[in-house]
């Protein structure tokens, strides 16, 4: 096993599913933004040339055996980072909606709060609506996101405005936590991971980032989907209140 290079304690993880048009571009931008970081693209069983494009752009690639969803792809990334001793993980979407030039700001915020080696898990969210850049969202979706944000702000004790953002940085303790517990449920992983983090005593902060329209891939969901999404997440949040915590360890040490 190749040990993580001493000068590259940061791993940029990009979950990607059929993003052949944008992935190479995002990888290159990330390399330019954080030259000291390693870049890992987790190809979630794409049917196009995502993996090849990422490899050509110079990223490390892990290919999932079948489609596991963003949550499953991230768990692979976390486990990879945990085993190779990375001290921080940055999660960036491969569709280009996140600007890799914001990565250093996320890492700075991580460093301020006791550094990546802090005892407690720390999650830094790149928040898309915190004043920087413009991001037009359908109204139903905006309302849903605002409700979730205020609920989770109370839970984590910080002011959060964008809890569904998939642009995040994690310190070492958070990597270890999520290597075991990152939720694999379809689409609700961003919100649920914050619940798990806060129930595990993690610190959650946010940094405003700019938002770009997706360079490729399918655009946002229609508004009835937002309603369905909100319902699903609400059920998850209600369940989460009565569930035992910390969440069960991975099924490895199974019952």
């Amino acid at each position: 096993m190749r040990p993580a290079a001493a000068g590259a304690p940061v791993l940029v993880v990009m979950p990607a599913w059929n993003e052949e048009e944008s992935v190479a571009m995002v990888v290159k931008e990330a390399q330019a933004a954080v030259p000291e970081a390693d870049i890992l693209v987790v190809d979630d069983d794409s049917s196009d040339r995502t993996a090849a494009a990422a490899r050509e752009a110079g990223a490390d690639v892990i290919e999932n055996v079948f489609n596991l969803g963003v949550g499953g792809a991230m768990r692979v990334g976390f486990r990879y980072a945990a085993r190779r001793g990375y001290s921080a993980v940055v999660q960036v979407d491969a569709d280009g909606q996140h600007d890799p030039r914001d990565i250093p700001r996320l890492l700075e915020c991580l460093a301020e709060a006791g550094g990546p080696g802090a005892e407690e898990p720390h999650v830094v969210i790149g928040a898309r609506f915190a004043g920087v850049g413009r991001f037009p969202v359908p109204r139903a979706r905006r309302v849903a996101m605002r409700m979730l944000a205020s609920y989770l702000s109370r839970m984590t004790g910080t002011g959060l405005t964008d809890v569904t953002s998939g642009f995040r940085a994690y310190n070492r303790a958070a990597i270890e936590l999520f290597a075991r517990t990152y939720p694999a449920e379809y689409l609700s992983d961003t919100v649920e991971s914050l619940v798990i983090a806060s129930r595990s005593g993690a610190r959650v902060s946010q940094v405003p980032v700019s938002m770009r329209p997706r360079m490729a891939g399918t655009p946002s969901q229609p508004s009835w989907r937002a309603v369905g999404y909100l319902l699903r997440v609400s059920v998850m949040l209600l369940l989460e209140r009565i569930r035992r915590h910390p969440p069960p360890d991975q099924p490895e040490e199974d019952r």
Binding site: M1, D60, V61, I62, N64, G72, R79, Y80, R83, Q250
Partner: protein, 115 residues
């Protein structure tokens, strides 16, 4: 023994034989088979002793004995369903974990054996 009891008995014997045969061919894991075999035992008992089920129903305060049968059957199937959903969930977790591990191992292999 009335004709209806005979019918019940035959149905029961057929069920048991099917389960035993599935077990013999290793199509069925024994932990599931045991459940179904256990169900068959009281069915056989009730089939060969007419009136026993009626007496049981009356002693439980059930006026119409077939109602008791329906309730018991529904309850049993409910338990089986809940158990199977639990089992499916657990299997899903394990498959997921295996898929993740395979992806990671494949990566390790690429490192070790450059193609």
């Amino acid at each position: 023994m009335t004709r209806v009891h005979l019918t019940a008995l035959v149905a029961c014997v057929v069920t048991v034989s099917v389960i035993v045969e599935l077990l013999r061919r290793r199509h069925l894991r024994d932990k599931y088979a045991v459940v179904w075999l256990i169900v068959c035992v009281p069915t056989v008992v009730f089939a060969i002793t007419p009136g026993l089920f009626n007496r049981l129903a009356h002693s439980l305060g059930v006026i119409n004995p077939p109602d008791l049968l329906t309730v018991l059957a529904a309850l049993f199937l409910l338990i089986v369903c809940v158990y199977l959903s639990w089992e499916v969930g657990r299997l899903e977790d394990r498959t997921r974990l295996l898929a993740e591990e395979v992806a990671l191992l494949r990566r390790e292999l690429d490192d070790a054996v450059p193609s």
